[in-house]
Symmetry: C2
């Protein structure tokens, strides 16, 4: 089996005005759907970051990929990672997917996942079984709450209905969570923080705890918006609420900052685990994170950790180092959701519900044949279908391409959106509180 | 595809009277050939430790394995490793393959490798490509020199011709090495030490260096026979000879001992790398080995590290921790050799030539169809054949079973052989020097 064609579909999908410490989501999120055709007649697919940068990254490996045997992934990774820089690969000052230093890992992942999909189809096996076999048949995801402005994203004909409205208070956050859990059945809850005054975010978490109880572990992620001092205060205020399977995710910037936070919290008997996808984005970060005890839970993501097998390696590495593993998410459609589900099913150390932005996207934009992927009790099932178990709806894909070509966005820039819609002088400042 | 039958072939193979700090090899080494038949009509094979213990271990999982999908390996590993003890899993006081605490890892490996072989056959791909793709097309092995008594092992009709004779001096060791390199083309050299007075072993290494030069990296492995003081002396004496790709393997017992040795050698500017398969036998040992800086090179072995994918994980783990990886060997035939070759081909961090006992076994005992696996310039090639690329010669296998049933040995016991043939009061004492 040889790769004969690499087809790249840049698409745009309506994205609600979600807030984070990075700024504001634009009305459209950008994604790229990859089709990898082979001489066997089978096609593998994947979904990755969108816009000019990721497209250029994929174009740059086209000649290397055409003609290759989809099984020969380790050699491709070796070649693509050979020139990997040891510079700052964190996501402290970049939204996920925008740090140029790990562009090769994102590009590789898009190819790897499409290769694993086509291998699964050739072999008649789900991808999770191709890479070693599942340790679970369904994967649990968490409710991913955002503070947001009103509206569901998109513009004009491409606008998306919105059931959540404006969410800029603790009360609205609770309402959002109830709606989302009623619809999806999630049993863990994540709040994207770093947006409102920490007192409001603390109140939000407390209201969630009061409503859902200890059976629903809680995590809050301000993407480094807090100083170490503020992080200590929040950690102290939410000691009870974040216990029992919850965690504090990237409260402040850098491994050094999180290490200091950890020491200060431990000194007062507070064992709240700290998670990170901002300060730990590649294997080289993990031993340092462990050494400083800055991070107890590493967030994986096949999209930027260099694909599924690297995430399996991270599962083993974190397990050996006595750390936990959870999963990070970006705005995505069903192809990414199934890739996340398959790799999660094959990672024994993935002991937390995975993040997913899926509830924030709509059926109008879904490119998976058959429409939106269903959740049952917050979980996505591994079907018996070969590969990722998802096919493309080419009409929907064409609509996504049309949207992409209609809009001016070619790069995620949450700061620009803040300046456009909220405050013409807005700048991301760390720490904000 | 489902497993329908598990056929276990206990065999015995002539083994020369090789010496190590564990004692003396018996005239026969024991191996088990595993056939895993499936409802697809395809059969996967593997080779593992022999004798009663390994057979009982495999029998104990028969019911779990029959009916299983060969792709579902992660679930099998989870089930088999669930009860793993945290006790002393080192090989300090056990010959490899005899520590009961990791019997489950050896049993799993025998099943996993046979499953990967049958998957490769089903998919039409070599095993190295099934598990992620090769990073090299041929795998380099090292000359594995032993001090030995005269003779090639076996008894009566089952005796094996011996081209090496008695090797109990530095001069004989050099002769042995020249013979072996002339025949196989090896380009790295390992000496099993801990047998003669360290002065003779130092002289052996020096003669090898003088003869072969710096282009042939040298390693010496006394299996913990030396005290820390003696290890310091040997490390000092061989500083030059073990540099440039060589290493000091398990000179003394325990991670603590090797850590002390490291500190003392570094203090005198001696950076000789230390390798271990005795003190680091499972993932839990690796962070501690790193923390103490006791080990810079971990020796993998798919047979007791829990199979090929675990060895891949070890490749990643050691790479992330800034350690190297080499490969350990036991007496084995061609099926094991091909399993070692395939996993080595798929491990980027395997940067040393692998150990192999293969030159110590003979064509009379080989169960691989077509006879002995060829070496070119010390390397074994990955052929284009599916699976491990090796089939069984059933006549040879039947002869191996016959030999097994004729002999009294059911367990490797090098100490008993020393008492029988060398000294009725011989005991393994650590440290001996």
């Amino acid at each position: 089996m040889r790769v004969t064609e690499l087809v790249l579909h840049p698409i745009a999908i309506a994205d609600p005005p979600l807030r984070s410490s990075y700024g504001l989501h634009a009305p459209f999120a950008l994604r790229t759907i990859v089709e990898l055709k082979t001489d066997s007649g089978l096609t593998g697919i994947s979904e990755t970051y969108g816009g000019d940068g990721p497209l250029a990254g994929l174009e740059a490996v086209r000649a290397r990929v055409i003609g290759m045997d989809p099984f020969q992934l380790a050699g491709l990774w070796r070649d693509m990672s050979a020139a990997a820089s040891t510079g700052d690969r964190t996501q402290t000052y970049f939204v996920p997917g925008e740090n140029p230093l790990d562009a090769y890992a994102r590009t590789f992942a898009a190819i790897e996942i499409a290769c694993l999909d086509v291998i699964g189809k050739a072999v008649g096996k789900p991808v999770c079984d191709v890479i070693g076999g599942r340790v679970r048949d369904e994967v649990s995801f968490s409710a991913y709450l955002f503070y947001k402005h009103g509206g569901g994203g998109g513009v004009g004909d491409d606008a998306r209905e919105d059931e959540y409205g404006e969410v800029l208070s603790a009360e609205a956050c609770l309402r959002e969570c109830k709606q989302m859990i009623a619809q999806y059945g999630f049993r863990e809850i994540k709040l994207k923080g770093g947006v409102l005054d920490p007192a409001i975010e603390i109140a939000s978490i407390r209201m969630l705890r009061r409503e859902f109880g200890a059976a629903y572990p809680l995590r809050i992620d301000p993407n480094c918006a807090w100083s170490v001092d503020t992080s200590v205060e929040v950690g102290r205020a939410l000691k009870e609420e974040l216990s029992g399977g919850g965690y504090l995710e990237d409260p402040c910037a850098s491994l050094e900052g999180m290490g200091e936070l950890r020491r200060r919290l431990l000194a007062e008997g507070n064992h709240t685990p700290q998670a990170s996808n901002v300060a730990t984005t590649c294997f080289a970060d993990v031993p340092r994170a462990k050494e400083l005890d800055a991070v107890q839970i590493v967030l994986c993501d096949p999209h930027y950790w260099g694909g599924m097998r690297n995430v399996q390696q991270l599962s083993n590495l974190t397990s050996v180092l006595g750390m936990g593993m959870s999963m990070h998410s970006n705005s995505h459609l069903g192809v990414s959701l199934m890739a996340m589900t398959h790799v999660a099913a094959a990672c024994p150390n993935l002991i937390y519900a995975c993040d997913t932005h899926y509830p924030w996207q709509g059926k109008k934009d879904e490119v998976a044949a058959g429409g939106r992927i269903p959740f049952t009790n917050g979980c996505v099932k591994i079907s018996g279908k070969p590969g990722l178990g998802v096919d493309l709806d080419y009409d929907q894909l064409a609509r996504g391409r049309e949207r992409y070509h209609k809009i001016p966005f070619r790069k995620r820039d949450d700061e620009a959106e803040m300046r456009k819609h909220v405050d013409p002088n807005w700048k991301r400042v760390l720490p904000r509180w």
